[in-house]
Every structure is written in C-alpha cells, then in structure tokens.
Amino acid sequence: MNAVLEIKNLSVTLKRGGRDVTILDQLNLRIAPGEMQALVGESGSGKTIAALAIMRLLPPGAAITGEILLNGENLAAAVEPRMRQVRGKSVAMVFQNPLAALNPSRTIAAQIGEAWRVHQGGSAAQARARALELLDEVGIPDPKNRLNDYPHQFSGGMRQRVMIAMSLACSPHLLIADEPTTGLDPLIAQQIMTLIARLRRERDMAVLFVTHDLSVVQEHADSIHVLYAGRSVEWGAAAAFFQHPRHPYSEALLGSVARLGQARLRNIPGNLPEPEQRPPGCRFAPRCAYASAVCSTAYPPADAQGATLAACFHPLPRTARPAFAETLAPRPARNFAPLLDVTDLGVRYRGAGGWFGAARRLPPSLAEVSFRLGRGECLGVVGESGSGKSSLGRAVLQMIEYDGQVTLDGHDFHAMAGRAKRDLRRKIQVVFQDPRESMNPRMTIGEVIAEPLRLRGGLNNAARRARVEALLGQVGLNPEMAARHPGDVSGGQAQRIAIARALAAEPELIVLDEPTSALDVSTQAMLLNLLKDLSLKHALSYILISHDFAVVSYMSDRIAVLNAGRIVEMNETAALLSAPRAAYTRALIGAAPQLQPMQA
C-alpha cells in the first residue's frame, strides 16, 4: 500500500550553546492511510522534534538530513512558501496544552475559520459555516452559540476538541497529535482519544500520535515506534509489541507503568543520557540488564526474527518472561497508630472585586471532609481538576484558612499559636508537582536541603553539611550533588531533592501533591518505590494527591475519592478497586489508563 508519510534516515541537529547537537538520529518510519501510529519515548527521546521536523517547524538553527516523503513529496527539501501550503492542508498538528496553543484573544470561530481560509480562500461567512460544521463533528455541544466564545471559556477537554476541529479544517491526509491528552483528567483524556480514533476511521486519515503514555497506545494505536535517546529501538504492530516486547528497553518501560493493584513497580536503573553524552553503540546498553561487550561497539542493526523489529544484539526471545513479571499481590492489612485527625474540614476561597476591595462569596471548594490518618499510612486522594484535592492538601499544611479541625498528634492547629504552632507545622511537609519550580534557582542544592535545618537551629555548619549528605544518600543521590544548582539536575533528581528537603524537617506527614505527574514513567516508578521505602523505614505518613488512579492505588493503603469538594467514597485500596460503591468512583476507575497484562 502507498504510504501517506515515509521518513527515510531523518536526522535533526539543533544548535545548543553554540554547538551542533544531534537530537534525532536516522529515523525511518512509514504510515499508511487510516493508520494510527504511536511515536513513543520519554522526554529527551526526540519524539517531539521528529513531529516538528515533519511540519518543518523546528527552532531556528536546526538542520535536517534525510527525507520526509508526504504523498511522495520530499518535505525536507521544500522551501518555506511551499511548506506554508502544506501546513494545515496536507498535514495538521494538534498540540498539547490547548490553552497556550490557542490565541487567547481571538474567538474560536476566527481561529478555526482562519485555518480554512488560509488554504481555501472563501468569505468570512463561509469560514464561519465551516467552523460550525467542524465544531459539531468534534462533539462541542450547542456549537452555534459557542462560535463567538474565546478559548478560556471552554473546559480543558472542550478546548482540545476545538484544537482538533481546527486541525481538521482542510481535511488533512496526516494528523500529528503531540501528547494531545497530557494534562487532561483521565475521563476527559479518554474521550479525546476516542474522538481522534473515530475521526481517523471516518476520514481515513493517518495519525501520528506522539506520546509517552503506553497504556493509551495499547488502547488506540495500530502500530508503534519506540525511541530512546534519539534513536529507534523497536517498531512494528502495536498488538505484537504489547504481547512480546523484544527490546530490553521496551520491556523495562512496560514494567515501570503503574497498574491498578500492583505490589511493586520495576524501574530502570540510571538516567537517560544527555544528547551530548550518548554512549557509543547501543544507547541503552549502560542501563541494560542484557548488555554485553558487543553492545557498545556499534548501533545494533534491526533484528527481524520476531513480530516486531528491534535494534538490539540480544532481542528477547518469545519464551522470555512476559512483560509483567510482578504478581499482583494483595496488600497486607496493617494497623496504624493514630496521627492525623481531620474533622469537618471546609475551605472557601474569597473572590476579589467587591466594593472597595471587599470579597465576594464563592461556593466552597471543600466541604464536610473528615478522615483519620495513621502513622506510616498513605491516604490517596483522587478526583478531577477542581474537585478540591489541592485545597485539601493546603488546608492540612496550614497554608490556607479553613473551617473545621485539623489535629496532629492530638494537637489542634486552631487552638495553637506562635512557636508551638510553628513547631507543629514543621511536622507536616510538602512535595509539589514541579520540583524545580519550588526551589530557588540561585541556591545550591545543599542550601535548599539545609534550609529547614537552619531554621530549626542547633546544628553547626559541619554537622549540617553531614546531615545534608546523609539526606541525599537517603533519597539515592550522590552527595556531590549538594554543590550543584536546581537548574542542572533532571526532573527525577529534582523531585528526590524535594523529598530530601521535606525529610530534613523530620516530618511525620508529607503531603505529596501530584509528585510524579511531571516525570517520565521509568523515573516515576523509581520515585514511587523510594517513597514507599522511606515510609516503611521512618513510619512516615503520606497524603498523596493525584489524578492518576494507578499511581494512587499503587501507593495508598486507603483512597478517598473527591468530587466537587466532598468525599464521595473512602475505603481500603483493594476494597475500593474491587467493589467501588459510588458511580463516580466507577467512572474514574473505568477511565484510568491501564496496561492489560498479556500472557506469554
């Protein structure tokens, strides 16, 4: 069959700090009409660069070699005016984070209409009519009355639908979707993926789906292409890939995806190499359990002995252990000594803009929330955006005003003041979603971790330094890292540092607010395992806030499901997963992306 897109030996070089750095190396792939191919990789794998290269939207200074054949025409050699004709007409792109990717100050009718008029001409009225058709096609309710709305007036999912409608304006042959569901709630993400799958069937449109989320790939893609550190490691039919991953990296990646009810996550040791420091030969070899001397001699050729192709000297045989070696063991029931008692917690934010700066009353973000947490216990809090889960964390941390009682170790926060209250507050620490944002970029990592120690006093410089090094060791980092700055470390390392900082205050409870959602799967697995170990060792309690049901169920002893500021269900993890009582819980579990275990 004729391919819509055929990429031959595509390499992309970017200018970084005055030097040329090869980000993507010798990519070859084919997509047939109507095919949905997933381009999978962790951050730094080069997957987004590959997508942007097809559109020729690379940053200034980028150089391309190889061929990008779209319906036989080589886009790699096309001039800019020709590319303007191709973009939006033959190839369209859906970006992640539609709030930023849409112009905030133009109506959606104008933005969708523009995509059509740029290529088809036509009057403003015709463009409007086309926009209406498209909005209807992507499932925007009451599209006629929403034409003049602005992007901010839509919810996250609806905004992504608008983005998709815009990309469909000229009926492209190829749609590139770059992480289209990242940042969306699972329920919404599922709807968006179903929409894209439906559209490509109805329109016989090829889709290149760029993602890091393997569970979504398994559900929707026909074929898969896995990148690691800028090079292809494994590619072929998606079903075969999930049945028998042949590249050790693929296998490790599949093993680190959190699934509901899992006992222990596997992680990949080591870090993804920086583009400047990629090892010779197979790039995964330094982290690979099967590596031998031959692996570092040359990049392995594609091995075609199985259902998929793997660039590996030692591809896994069919008889190898299946991708999920871990058994799904039930969690042993534990008894916890009481630590935290939350009674009738309510949070209501005040809106600005009343007369003379007076506040307006808003509906409560949190109401009638009560729960207890034991020493060493982990309570998972799940819910969609706006369900009040972050407010819950902030109230427990005493960062916002609240009604009701929060009692730690028998001390009610509202009944305390001054030094005693500060000492009590110290026992509750927090780890945020984006660790680097939560650190002062001018401080060294040692200073970041030492700050809680300094605030408490009682330690001299040498003792403090020793403590910092011990803490770094506890979270699995090299003590030499203390001299570096937050900007110089990877996301996973930064999150470990954030945990070390929290531990420095010797807390009894850590509020984990989406601690892994900014991390890659393999890093996420590593971090979750670390948190689990720390909890066992120090009898640390966690309140884990996340929209990722699989992560929460992996970590938590109990789960509380929040909807519109109220706890709709709270139960032991196993019981909640196997027999959810509330309809909302069932919907959340149903939408949680999860890899299906495969039999060998």
């Binding site: 792109m93 905030p104 100050s105 133009r106 523009e114 740029v118 602005y150 901010h152 983005m163 003379f356």
Partner: protein
C-alpha cells in the same frame, strides 16, 4: 461593566481626598505665604495680618480645609489670590492647552512606539533591534529639561525653523491653527522622545515574548503567513502591556510635562502649577493637583477599559 466603572470611581474618591488633603496641608505648612507674594517683600506685618484675615488664612488649618471641601462639594474651587479670578475659569483655559498638548504627544508616542517595538520584537537580538535599543537607552537617560533646551538651541536659536517658546492663546482671533501647531512641535517632540524611549522598549519586548508563545506555533502549523501572524495574532496580545504602562505612566508624563511646559513657556496646567507653587497661590495649586489626580484616575480607568476590549479574559465582575 458599568458597575465596575462606578466601583472604580467610588474607590478613587478616597484616593483623591487623601491626595488633596496631603497637598493642602503641605502647602499651608510652608513658611511665608501668599500675602508676601501679593504685597511684596517689603510688606509690614500689620498689612500681612490684615490680608491674611481677609483671605481667611488666619483660621485654623482644619477649618480652612473643611471650608475648601465644602466649597468643592458645591462646585466652587475658590479665587486665585494673585490673578483674582475664579480658579475654575482659569483652570479651564490652561487645562485645554494641556489636554491638546498631551493628546497629541500620546498619540504620536504610541504610534512611534508601536512601529519601533514591532521592528525590535521581530528582529530581537539582531542589529536593527540593537540599534533602536541604543537610542532608547540614550533618550531614557536624558533629563527632559536638557532635551528641551537642546531642541530650542538647534531648531529655534540656530536655524529659526520653529518658535522657541510661548503660544498664542486660542481665543486670539488673529492666531492661526498653523501658528498654534508650530508652537506645539518642540514641546511635543520633547515629551514624545522621552516617552517613546521607554514605551517602545516595553512593546518590543512584549512582541518578542508573544512571538515565542505556543499559539504562534499553532498559527504557523495552520500555514498562516508571518505578516498575518504578526498583525492578526501577536499585535493585539502585545498591546495589552503597552496600554497598561501607558495608563500607569500618565502621572509621570505629566510631571515631566511641568518641566517641559515651563521651559517652553507653554501656558498649560504644568506651567500654571509651577507659577502658583512659587507664589503660594494655594487655591490654584490644590485645584491643579485635584485635576491631575482626576486625570490620572481616568487615564488608568481608560487603560483598563481598552485592555478589557483587547483581552476577553478580563472580567468586569
């Protein structure tokens, strides 16, 4: 939206009251007094006391202030001690001159800033932007009186192209609009040079920042040309900070204007303010402060309203 405007104006009343009170007491606490300005330096203490009594200046300050507020509420701003005319009437003539002066200056500065800023934003980091940047910094650093003096030296004294100072009163039947315009050129140039130097820099940076945003990449992915991206997508979003800054810089433009008006002998509010401050003509001084305050409040309100039109996310709740 109406509610928001009313609310803003209501809260501004408080700020204006504080402003006026502050100036009232500061002015009255300065040594000397208007009596010396009126009677001359050789006035006897008796005649000064007599005059003070006639002007009501011997009353306690608080009572004077209360009386002033009372008159204000009845729409009266009092009489000028020196010029012996109602303050309201006097102000109107000068205020009209000032408004013409500033409206022209702001229109020219904004247009120039947009043009320069666009160049700077598009060629950010390259020589056209760097060249403009050097001029911006230079003019930003120059004090207004120096620029004014230099302009007078070159264009009025050396080459006699333009009048050095003064302006023909608009009520003069013989004064043509051309003569009026000629008198405006140098003051407007001075104010514009200084305003453009900072405004265009802000706008250039805003354009550069907007060009790096995701929605620009989306527009490119649709196949939209660069010119369309610049004028249909980027421009509107980049104008918002410019307008906010314009609204905020209103009082600064004005205080700069006091100097410019005095140097050019331009009979505007700034000039009048300077003169009445020297002669301690309190009623005029305080009235001018009030007018400047009101103009500042209105300028900021106007900036917010325009921004509301540009940015659909701004809410008037």
């Amino acid at each position: 939206m109406m509610k928001m405007i009313l609310r803003r104006l209501a809260s501004s009343c408080l700020s204006l009251f504080i402003l006026v009170a502050l100036v009232f007491f500061l002015a009255h606490l300065t040594p000397g007094g208007p009596a010396y300005s009126i009677l001359g330096q050789k006035a006897t203490p008796e005649s000064v006391a007599q005059l003070n009594q006639r002007l009501g200046l011997d009353q306690p300050l608080l009572k004077q202030f209360g009386l002033w507020i009372w008159h204000l509420l009845h729409g009266e701003l009092g009489y000028s001690y020196l010029l012996n005319r109602p303050v309201g009437q006097l102000l109107w003539v000068y205020e009209r001159n000032t408004l013409i002066f500033y409206t022209v200056s702001i229109i020219i500065s904004t247009a120039l800033s947009i043009a320069l800023g666009l160049i700077q934003g598009v060629w950010f980091g390259r020589w056209p932007a760097k060249l403009i940047g050097a001029f911006q910094l230079g003019f930003y650093a120059l004090p207004p009186f120096f620029v004014a003096a230099m302009l007078i030296l070159w264009f009025a004294v050396d080459v006699h192209w333009l009048p050095a100072s003064g302006i023909i009163d608009l009520r003069d039947p013989h004064a043509g609009i051309a003569s009026f315009a000629a008198h405006l050129v140098l003051p407007v140039t001075t104010v514009s040079l200084l305003t453009v130097s900072s405004l265009s820099r802000y706008f250039g940076e805003a354009v550069h920042e907007e060009l790096g945003k995701d929605y620009v990449r989306t527009a490119r992915a649709k196949g939209v040309s660069f010119a369309s991206i610049l004028f249909r997508h980027v421009m509107r979003n980049a104008l918002r900070p410019l307008i906010t800054i314009l609204g905020l810089s209103f009082p600064y433009i004005f205080t700069g204007g006091v100097i410019v008006e005095s140097v050019f002998n331009y009979p505007g509010l700034g000039w009048l303010m300077w003169r009445s401050a020297l002669s301690q003509d309190y009623p005029i001084l305080i009235a001018i402060v009030l007018v400047i305050g009101v103009l500042t409040v209105l300028g900021n309100l106007l900036a917010d309203l325009v921004n509301g039109l540009l940015d659909p996310r701004a809410s008037y709740e």
